[in-house]
């Protein structure tokens, strides 16, 4: 086994470390504590945050990559010691998530099959027991192999679900007991979060155990398990949403604060920059940039040793492009806020005392625009997850070899017109995407209510 650190893995773990440090530093700040505690004082806040954390957890597990060692043939190991030492690695990159899912992604069928189906979706020429050629639906290779009679399918599924549920409840009890001991006297509605955690754990155990015998969400055109594909899409969605914002933040904050603080020609220049950028239709700019990068990748194929790295490079490029093309809104907001703050008395006083510009910016201005950054971070997240699907449809999104909801939708969009319609791929992508985006949207509303001074005033008036 050989660990692999893709560029996007590095970036996402850096991001996690930064966020943890950021909140660790803020832990004693009374204002921040009060605001976050307002967010988490509602059940909705707890539930949505737990859902988002679940997605982030899946994404992080899926970011721990490694290449499996291939079994060296016994004959080859016999001759020399040096050759035996050399281990060959599988070209396919696996992740910890793949291991946890128990090989869910390795059970391929020939083509489409419906959820819980035992037979393939398409007819095929076969030989029956008497050796006659018949045209019928062939049985699946990885579904219901243990069944003696196909009629037993649903009782079998029910029985297995029951067992899985028991295990799920047991696991949740073990998982939640320490939390309960620690947090039972907390004023926050932790029970809402625990309920979600229990449901997620039970669903997870159920999915892993059932998927060993059936394809829960069927299979797609290439015969891959749709549930597995949807789970793989989590990492792409979460990473795209966070990394793009991470790349956009430094540009937007630096330029915005500088424009608002120094005014004069700096302000003119920054305003000119973001007006120019925002006047270009966003999707065209993104598409053009991605296409140009694609040409670069195609012309330099020796840059990447394995296919996954190529897909990863395109993914990082997409994050960069989305980040670089979308800073204008945040920059405008920060500029306006900085303009307002730099007129206040305490900043004037700092000037009068001869405090340096960098110190004023760092101590007096930046902490007061943090709420805008935080609101934007959460708000943009859901928009970026949705944008990924559209970009993949246009053909400038994620590399098709990397699982993403956009690619799933793109591959299955015309399959509804089949008879009977192939609905399960779209359903899988829809629910996984919808749950994440809905949770992020609802959570961002709460964050905005807590952090935006304007909405605070509005609430106290009503």
């Amino acid at each position: 086994m050989k660990p692999i650190l893709l560029w996007s893995d590095t970036l996402v773990f850096l991001l996690v470390i930064t966020l943890v440090l950021f909140f660790y530093r803020l832990r004693h700040d009374p204002q921040t504590r009060e605001r976050w505690s307002q967010v988490f004082s509602t059940r909705l806040g707890m539930v949505t945050f737990t859902v988002i954390l679940t997605y982030v957890g899946i994404a992080l597990l899926d970011s721990l990559h490694f290449r499996k060692a291939l079994d060296t043939p016994a004959a080859a190991t016999g001759d020399t010691g040096a050759a035996a030492q050399e281990v060959f690695y599988n070209n396919k990159v696996s992740s910890v998530l793949d291991v946890l899912l128990g090989g869910m992604g390795e059970r391929f069928e020939r083509t489409y099959s419906a959820p819980f189906a035992l037979l393939s979706f398409e007819k095929k020429n076969m030989k029956d027991e008497q050796g006659r050629a018949v045209r019928d639906f062939p049985p699946l290779e990885h579904a219901g192999q243990h069944l003696a009679d196909p009629a037993d399918k649903w009782p079998d599924v029910l029985a297995r679900s029951g067992t899985a549920l028991l295990w799920g409840i047991l696991l949740s009890a073990l998982w939640l007991a320490p939390q309960w001991l620690l947090l039972r006297h907390s004023p926050h509605p932790w029970h809402a979060s625990w309920a979600v955690q229990a449901v997620v754990l039970c669903l997870g155990v159920w999915a892993v155990s059932i998927s060993r015998y059936y394809h829960i969400l069927g299979t797609d055109l290439g015969g891959a398990d749709v549930l597995y594909q949807s789970l793989k899409g989590v990492r792409t969605g979460v990473l795209l949403g966070t990394l793009s914002t991470l790349i956009m933040l430094p540009i937007a904050v630096t330029l915005g604060v500088m424009a608002g603080y120094f005014k004069g020609w700096v302000d003119d220049l920054v305003q000119y920059l973001y007006t120019t950028l925002s006047s270009i239709p966003g999707i065209l700019l993104i598409a053009a940039s991605v296409l140009l990068f694609q040409v670069y990748i195609d012309l330099n194929p020796d840059f990447f040793s394995i296919g996954m790295e190529k897909a990863d490079a395109r993914f990082i490029a997409l994050c960069f492009i989305l980040g670089v093309t979308s800073w204008s809104t945040l920059c405008r907001l920060i500029r306006a806020e900085t303009l307002k703050i730099s007129q206040l008395e305490y900043v004037q006083a700092a000037h009068a005392f001869g405090v340096s510009h960098t110190r004023i910016l760092g101590r007096h201005i930046l902490p007061n625009v943090v709420h805008i950054i935080m609101i934007t971070f959460v708000l943009d997240f859901s928009a970026l997850v949705l944008a990924e699907a559209v970009l993949s449809y246009i053909g400038v999104g994620i590399d098709p070899s990397m699982g993403s909801w956009g690619n799933m939708i793109n591959g299955a969009r015309s399959e509804l017109s089949r008879q009977p319609p192939v609905w399960w791929t779209l359903t899988g992508a829809f629910f996984f995407m919808f749950a994440l985006v809905l949770a992020a949207n609802l959570f961002s509303d709460l964050v905005r209510d807590a952090f935006d001074p304007r909405s605070g005033r509005r609430r106290s008036e009503t």
Partner: protein, 325 residues
């Protein structure tokens, strides 16, 4: 007023120059014409002669900024920068990589785009405002909270699912209208109903939620309290006090979009097979036709800047306090 408009148009010039420079950098400096030739010709046919021939055919065989082989003005005009970028200012878009005249393509294709985008836009605003007003009437009740939750849920569904779902239900299952296509004559409405419907429904979530916030902001103002105190009915407060005052923030967000309606929608046009500018752009992106993408970037920027100017002008009409000077 007239002097103001002239000045705003003059302000737009440096921005357009910036857009022009940026696209030029992106398309010719980051990516050289040789790279483009390779990707257009395909891996199989790449020979130095083939690349040179392709560049000559499409006019990319000139130097970028300064042509030393010519003298005088010619040394500046006989360059890629002048022929491909500066000429955009004269609305001379040249020919696409496949040899079609972009200017005539754009002028024929913008009408189908407008035929879809304009009804979607107008009906969409009307529906969103009606829904938002209805919700504001029930402000701070259980109904209001559930409505907001519904809006957020509608917002959380990808646009692609609205289109796929609409086509599947309305066109395929119920067979009410054709799935896709376009007809320029009297039959056009048959093909337009579904795209417009999908566009309007997809916009309700974010639109109605936005209008609701605007209306609520107005509903907390002092003049509303005064109106209520003097005994005005809730309906008349909503329509005679809140709605006209909320018009200014509405205009800010809405008027800027009007010129861009010509550009049409990328997704809706490609799914419904409407021969507008949206599907034109999508085809250009898919076939990597950079000449069209370049022209569309420029047209899009002009329309956006025009929208900004229109917004400023619309303020004078909606808000008597604003004087343009």
């Amino acid at each position: 007023m007239f002097a103001y408009i002239i000045r705003r148009v003059l302000y737009a010039v440096p921005i357009l120059i910036g857009v022009n420079l940026l696209t030029f950098l992106l398309f010719f400096v980051v990516n050289s014409p040789d790279d483009m030739a390779v990707s257009q010709l395909g891996e199989k046919y790449v020979t130095p002669e083939a690349i040179a021939a392709w560049k000559t055919k499409n006019g990319y065989d000139k130097p970028l900024f300064l042509n030393a082989s010519n003298t005088g003005l010619e040394s500046l005009t006989d360059t890629i920068f002048f022929t491909k970028s500066v000429k955009l200012f004269a609305f001379d878009f040249g020919r696409s990589e496949s040899g079609r005249d972009i200017t005539s393509d754009v002028s024929t294709r913008m009408w189908p785009s407008l035929a879809v985008a304009l009804p979607t836009f107008i009906i969409g605003i009307w529906v969103n405002i009606c829904v938002a007003l209805l919700v504001v009437m029930f402000h701070a009740t259980r109904l209001d909270r559930w409505a907001v939750f519904l809006f957020v849920s509608l917002m959380s569904i990808s646009y692609l699912f609205y289109i796929i779902g609409g086509q599947y239900l309305v066109a395929k299952t119920w067979k009410l209208v054709p799935i896709s296509g376009f007809h320029a004559d009297g039959q056009a409405w048959k093909f337009l109903i579904l795209p417009v419907l999908v566009g309007v429904v997809a916009g309700i979530g974010s639109g109605a939620r936005w209008y609701r916030t605007l209306f609520l902001e107005e509903a907390n103002q002092d003049y509303v309290r005064t109106a209520r105190a003097k005994g005005a009915s809730e309906i008349s407060i909503l329509f005679r006090h809140i709605l006209p005052n909320a018009l200014i923030p509405i205009l800010t967000g809405v008027v800027v979009l009007i010129p861009s309606l010509f550009m049409g929608g990328l997704l809706i046009e490609s799914f419904f097979g409407i021969p507008g500018l949206g599907s034109y752009m999508l085809d250009a992106i898919k076939s990597q036709d950079f000449a069209i993408v370049r022209s569309m970037v420029f047209i899009g920027s002009i329309l956006y800047i025009f929208g900004l100017i229109l917004t400023d002008i619309s303020y004078t009409w909606a808000d008597p306090r604003v004087r343009l000077s």
